[in-house]
């Protein structure tokens, strides 16, 4: 990637701009304030109860990780959604096409430069995330797992941004489209499951059961598999696994009822990571296709 001129230029320009240090400052500032306040409250509790509640430090970890995850989900699209449409608006995209750069080079250069910037954010936030290490309870494997989740989510959100940017002529439309798709995937899939779960609960409540007959648990049915596409659901599962009783009820279990216990459900985290990676690859491929000036045009 180092030899990709678009990547090199993007990194140079971003490193030079005032925006980069500002984003790092704001991002880590928010994380630090939240973490330190949380820690202060935990320590204050120790003073009162004279006993150390280790679960509160785990909650601190979950809280900071969730905040970081949500911030990443908002920052990555912002970094990518204007990248190609911006080139189009500056009239530089055509110039790139007349050079040896292929649409794939351009898309990869843009995506990886945004990922690099995001990695800087993630790495710079390590000291805050590692506050919990002071009291134990987490290990490096947990952190590595979280990093994989962050990276997959970043590629996923970046993929949506790059795809919209390649498809739309103007950055404003691309921004709207990116956040629209993201909202549909992240909130839409949850809303659909919650709606179907409620419907199922109402149906069960209406049905008459004989004495001794157990009522089935409500579930959202097959719609739960749509959550495989949702990075927030994956993150929720990771948090569920790492911190029992995570701070947000993002777990897929609530939608399952007595539902299927198959391979996908048992291996939800790796399967969803795989699904999201494949989806991201599809988005990147779509971006490359739409960027190609010589693709078959509709008459």
């Amino acid at each position: 990637m180092k030899s990709n001129p678009v990547y090199k230029r993007e990194v140079t320009v971003r490193a030079r701009s005032f925006r980069m240090p500002l984003i790092i400052l704001v991002f880590n500032g928010i994380l630090a304030v939240v973490a330190l306040l949380n820690m202060y409250s935990a320590v204050a509790q120790v003073r009162i109860s004279a006993s150390v509640q280790y679960s509160s430090f785990l909650q601190l970890y979950a809280f900071v990780a969730t905040l970081e995850f949500l911030l990443l989900m908002f920052i990555m699209p912002a970094l990518t959604s204007g990248s190609i449409s911006g080139e189009r608006e500056r009239q530089t995209l055509e110039l790139l096409f007349t050079t040896r750069m292929t649409p794939k080079d351009i898309v990869m250069g843009k995506l990886f430069s945004a990922l690099s910037q995001l990695m800087v954010l993630i790495v710079s936030s390590f000291p805050i995330l590692l506050l919990t290490f002071v009291y134990g309870s987490m290990d490096l494997m947990d952190l590595a797992f979280l990093m994989v989740c962050f990276l997959v989510t970043a590629v996923f959100c970046g993929g949506i941004g790059i795809f919209s940017s390649s498809l739309m002529r103007r950055s404003t439309f691309s921004n709207v489209c990116t956040y629209g798709i993201l909202l549909l995937v992240v909130v839409g899939t949850y809303m659909l499951n919650i709606f179907l779960l409620n419907m199922s609960q109402m149906q069960i409540a209406e049905e008459i059961y004989q004495l001794g007959e157990t009522r089935p648990a409500a579930s959202s049915g097959s719609a739960v598999y749509l959550l495989l596409l949702n990075p927030l659901a994956t993150f929720g599962e990771i948090m569920e696994k790492q911190v029992t009783g995570g701070i947000a009820d993002l777990s897929i279990r609530r939608f399952l009822g007595n539902g299927p216990d198959n391979f996908v459900i048992r291996h939800w985290i790796p399967v969803s990571i795989l699904v999201q990676t494949v989806f991201s690859a599809g988005l990147v491929r779509g971006a490359v296709y739409f960027l190609n000036p010589l693709k078959n045009e509709k008459k």
């Binding site: 001129p5 530089t92 055509e94 110039l95 096409f97 050079t99 010589l294």
Partner: protein, 316 residues
């Protein structure tokens, strides 16, 4: 250097190109002109590989540019009507970025950038940000960028639009220099007087087709041959008109102020013979000149769609 055959392109129901044929010889400075909407930019974009034609072929340096796109990219440099600048890069970085886009990096790339910045007289601005440059400087930088990989063919789409006369003149000289160095240049412009001064060849496109093309001097000569003779006589002109009427090569005669305007079909030798016959009859001729045609008048004739006024056509 550049051969285009039967190029067709439709946008919906609108036919932008209807079988465009043109040829640009090696070392030529080819002026590509036409009214708005004639298909110039579409044709240029197809040449540059930015649009796919519906039919036809484009050959650059003898190679099919539509099939062997990557090889063709090394053969031409493209300057669009909009500069396409990265304002947040310095001039040197801008050049080095495009050098690396052509695989020129390291010392070789830097050396080439310096050479070109020197050539377009921007060496002293190498460490300035691109957005601090004037429009003329940006256009020179754009030209330098198009030359970064030392292409044989330069395709320029309206390169002097929005420039002041001095900058246009400097840019024109730069193109002439490049042509003298052996580059083939295709330039589209609306400033016809400028093109007639610098181009060696010209192609006029109208409604998606080339309606006139060829060597600039030959075309101007053809126009001149069909232009009227302006004859000025000291004193009474009746005798002169009588002599002119007798000449079978004289088509029409008209009087405008002091001038006799004669539509005369003949070359320079025939003109000399006509002048001699007037002098021999003792007519005091004080002026005898063929009205000079220019690119603008050709352009207006060709693109006016008024058959009656046309003295030149692509068949000629």
């Amino acid at each position: 250097m550049l051969k285009i055959h039967g190029l067709k392109k439709k946008f919906g129901n609108f036919e932008a190109l209807r079988g465009l044929d043109m040829e640009v010889e090696e070392g030529a400075l080819y002026g590509f002109v036409g009214p708005n909407g004639a298909g110039k930019t579409t044709a240029i974009k197809i040449m540059a590989g930015l649009l796919k034609p519906d039919e036809g072929s484009v050959e650059i340096c003898g190679k099919d540019a539509l099939r062997f796109r990557e090889e063709a990219k090394d053969q031409f440099g493209y300057v669009p009507d909009e500069f396409g600048m990265y304002d947040n890069l310095k001039v040197r970085e801008y050049m080095e970025f495009f050098a690396s886009c052509y695989g020129l990096s390291g010392l070789m790339g830097r050396k080439r950038c310096e050479e070109l910045l020197d050539q377009v007289k921007l060496s002293d601005r190498a460490d300035f940000f691109v957005d601090s440059l004037s429009r003329g400087m940006k256009q020179r930088l754009c030209l330098a960028r198009a030359l970064i990989h030392d292409p044989g063919l330069l395709i320029l789409d309206e390169p002097t639009s929005g420039m002041d006369p001095r900058t246009r003149m400097e840019f024109k000289e730069m193109l002439k220099e490049l042509c003298a160095e052996g580059k083939t240049i295709l330039v589209s412009s609306h400033i016809l007087s400028e093109l007639s001064q610098m181009c060696t060849d010209i192609g006029i496109i109208d409604a998606g087709k080339i309606v006139l093309s060829g060597n600039m001097a030959e075309i101007l000569q053809k126009v001149n041959d069909s232009n009227p003779l302006l004859i000025r006589i000291c004193g009474e002109s009746r005798t002169a008109i009588g002599i002119l009427k007798k000449d079978p090569r004289v088509q029409t005669i008209a009087i405008r102020d002091e001038d006799i305007i004669v539509n005369f079909h003949g070359n320079r030798q025939a003109e000399a013979e006509l002048l001699y016959s007037l002098m021999e009859a003792g007519i005091p001729v004080s002026g005898f000149i063929r009205e000079q045609g220019d690119l603008e008048s050709i352009f207006m004739q060709i693109t006016s769609h008024d058959k009656g006024k046309v003295v030149l056509s692509s068949e000629e």
